[in-house]
């Protein structure tokens, strides 16, 4: 029973982090929230007795993906609304 409650709580946490990352306008916070999703998913995989997948998720989902997104934010804009204001970014994409 406690196992089920724990898994339910972790799933709820993942859902909350996912909703937060969509709603949030500050892209850095959104990226950190997606990292939290991966972190909780790692714990879930471990609880479901899949340590191999948990290791992969920890290394790729938590560390590498988050850092690559942060580097991208560093190179472009941090806030979602700034996107339309920055003309040179638009011309760079085109």
């Amino acid at each position: 029973m406690t196992y089920l409650i724990l898994i339910f709580f972790l799933l709820l946490l993942m859902l909350a982090a996912a909703v937060y990352s969509i709603v949030q306008k500050d892209l850095l916070y959104a990226v950190i929230a997606t990292g939290v999703i991966s972190l909780v998913l790692t714990v879930l995989f471990y609880l479901l007795q899949a340590p191999d997948v948990a290791l992969t998720e920890a290394a790729i989902g938590v560390a590498l993906t988050t850092i690559i997104f942060i580097i991208t934010i560093r190179n472009t804009v941090r806030h979602e609304d700034d996107y339309n204001k920055k003309d040179d970014l638009k011309s760079a994409i085109e």
Binding site: D52, T56, L64, I67, T72
Partner: protein, 231 residues
Amino acid sequence: MKKFIVILMLAALGFYLGQTFYELGFGNARFEHGVKDSYLEKTVSDLHVANTVTSIVVNFRGFDTLGEVTVLFLAVTALGGILYKKRHQTGARSVLFSSSSIVRSGSKLLFPAIILLGVYVFVHGHLSPGGGFQGGTIVATGFLLMLLAYKDFSVSHNVLSFVESFAGIFFVLFGLAGFIGGGTFLENFMPVGTMNDLFSGGIIPIVYILVGFKVAAELTGLIYTVLHEKD
């Protein structure tokens, strides 16, 4: 009229797809007596490997692993191809993170430990959870930490491409050597040894060490390329 025909064709396609999947029979009956019993049995009796996941990924489904490595290689190559023209001629860093002395000292302290953990994970792939992909990614994370903390830390692209192609070529060569010993691609042709020893499991540890080097080189190159992209 056109829409009606489209809907009719879609309905027919959906019906036949549904029928096919229904006849395949996903469900309990499939799980009770399936290929998994043979895998579980052969992993212990034939290969003397403790980690069943590893034996399936490298030995029974080794060709899939080669495909995964190829997909990763193509993705990194495509990224490098897109960003290559925009790179600085001098090779200067375009993305800089300001790091305090605590971060710099801490990453210098942690770097060898992270590399050691990554190497441990892919060398012990056949004994404990983990393997080439996981270990290689952990090694790449260590290089990422150093690249973020130090402005003048750099990795040689020539060394990375040499390690990557060396590991890839030897993976395929070991697969082809299976034709001589056993008869199929990536068939085990080396002595399996005793279970739970470091030198056991035939070609599994060798293939996983090669995969680990390949993945580590690819991901380090990816991070290096992204960090040197000119905006």
